[in-house]
Symmetry: C2
Subunit: 371 residues, 2 copies
């Protein structure tokens, strides 16, 4: 088939799908709440979990939104997550708390811990909370955002199932172990939310589906050699890639995340963490997480003014390509939210919508409706 | 000249230089103390600065040891650093302190701040100290090491002179902005000390001297394109390298360092920071730094046992090459210290020793003696 016809067909199908696939933020949230409630999750927990997931879709991080719903529901179905569990404090000081997540839903645990860190930072200047017995807590950036709303700096990290090979190793011993840091800056902000691997697994899956190569430094084959063939990808490589390109720094950062989360909280860490997929898991996750809030008023009073100035200096750096402006962390997500607002809803992939249709039938909840 | 003769000559000169260049740790320290005192630096400040610098050489980080002495001395000579200044606390809470470094020597300020963070973490569980009006504080890993001696986790960061181009930019707006994290683990430990650029400037200088190419992803030319020619290197690239290889993550991390140091402390940040070289600088640096100590006893009581286990799991990951064992952060430095102990001293480059000879003459201090 000539390329031009291929393109026309693709454009037609995109137009059809655009009409069909737009879901309002509220409707996506409603659907997720209904699904959680079908598994006996209390309303208030279901809302927290749905708020987190829909925020990821709204911000353009589709891998961490509606896409994760099935994972969470199947863990509830297999009773490896307790949807009604409430976290409890095991030990505390003026600035710290050690929390048992009691195997509850990730967002319920994460919100509890970040709120506690914020509360402590109001009096002690900083609040540092570690939790064990937690579950996948969604996009790491969600928790710093809570601190930012109070004018505080927020930091959060979580360990995850092993996927990354340490530098010089040919098997996985650490997860994608993300770090999120959020900083208020008047009407502006800074929000970094990054895996410590070169890329997340999803990016390799997309290349595989497209039948395209992946760049050097993303993944290793079973022998531990860097591979450009997504079919051969066996382990993720750390941020930086190979040892000669400073991949040992990404490996070091992923280790720091595991130390400040799993090891410090007394949760699982490294190869002790279970594998996880959309079918859920019979084994409990027992993940470790860290939540930190810092009150910048304890330091220089001009913090937010200077933050605005820093963002300006970075964005106004001379661009290599005048069409590609220099961004600061969080700018892409801001643009995505504006685009969703303008369109009136979130555009999900047909695959995702098929899964939701099946879930609606399986759980006997009202299917997603479209705009 | 045939290659074989070149090699012989090189080997001969290496043998000669090995005999000639070995300096004991104590003698290197003595020489540095004498040099600082020649500029009127009080004994106790000179000792602190020398302890830091010689520790870097002992650990194999030559760029941050005796190599930096000239920079510090020339700043003292130009009175852009005040060798007698003592830091003062501006504001504090149970867990935080905002400190004015009063433009003193970096190690004096850094030690003051880290000791304060440790003291606070003993009662509050965590101590978080930010300092402004500071100077270059040497290897970032020095400060977490102080916390580790108390059984605490230590974190330190500093901003530095602009050298790194933000992703999509063709001019420098951030420094090499290092992050150091130290963790005790019984007789073992973990100590990450990494620049958030792909590599430090020194690595590119070495390739330039050798007349060899640099790998893709280390540096950009004046147009902002990645270059493999060290002569064309104009700005460092962030950890990760190009945008497609997640260089925006290294850029994000470098920004976080600038925020938690320069912006939070009310010091200089980004392009406000002066350029710096061996000749010293007339302008004050006003760098910002952050020092955090966390008492792991506030969390899981099995922390150190589990840290040992994590280190073992990482080191015992199946190696790609059985001759290249998997390391954890800090292992290379441990090996270097053992090698120095075995040899009986530190082997400095002839260039470095020439500089020391000139310094001894210029300052009228006793020259370095060799083993």
């Amino acid at each position: 088939m000539p390329a031009i016809i291929q393109n026309q067909r693709r454009n037609m199908s995109m137009c059809e799908s655009q009409k069909q696939e737009l879901v309002s933020v509220n409707e996506s949230r409603r659907f997720m709440i209904d699904c959680f409630k079908a598994f006996g999750v209390p309303q208030i927990h279901a809302e927290q979990q749905a708020d987190l997931l829909v925020a990821a879709d709204y911000r353009g991080h589709f891998s961490h939104g509606l896409n994760r719903l099935e994972y969470y529901l199947n863990d509830l179905s297999k009773k490896s997550t307790d949807g009604a569990a409430v976290p409890k404090i095991l030990k505390e000081t003026p600035a710290t708390a050690w929390v048992d997540g009691c195997n509850g839903l990730g967002a319920v645990i994460g919100n509890f811990c970040m709120d506690l860190a914020i509360k402590k930072s109001k009096t002690a200047g900083v609040g540092w909370v570690c939790v064990k017995n937690s579950n996948h807590y969604g996009m790491a950036g969600w928790y710093p955002m809570k601190a930012m709303k109070e004018g505080f700096v927020g930091i959060s990290m979580t360990n995850t199932s092993p996927l990354m090979a340490p530098t010089r190793a040919k098997e996985a011993a650490l997860g994608t172990n993300p770090i999120a840091v959020g900083v208020p800056a008047g009407d502006d902000h800074f929000l970094l939310d990054m895996a410590t691997t070169a890329v997340a697994l999803g990016k390799i899956e997309i290349q595989r589906r497209k039948g395209e190569d992946i760049p050097e430094g993303w993944a290793q084959n079973v022998e531990g050699a860097s591979t450009t063939d997504p079919e051969q990808a066996c382990c993720l490589m750390p941020l930086g890639g190979a040892e000669g390109n400073s991949g040992y720094k990404g490996y070091g950062l992923a280790s720091v995340v595991d130390i400040l989360t799993g090891v410090m909280a007394g949760a699982n860490y490294s190869t002790k963490i279970r594998k996880w997929n959309a079918l859920g898991c019979n084994e409990q996750a027992d993940l470790g997480q860290m939540f930190v809030a810092i009150n910048p008023n304890c330091f220089d009073p001009d913090f937010e003014t200077n933050m605005c100035d820093l963002n300006s200096r970075l964005r106004n750096s001379k661009p290599i390509d005048p069409e590609m402006t220099v961004l600061v962390a969080g700018d892409k997500e801001e643009d995505n939210m504006k685009a969703v607002d303008k369109a009136g809803g979130i555009k999900y992939l047909p695959d995702q919508l098929r899964t939701c249709k099946e879930l609606a039938q399986r759980l006997n909840v009202k299917p997603l409706s479209f705009i």
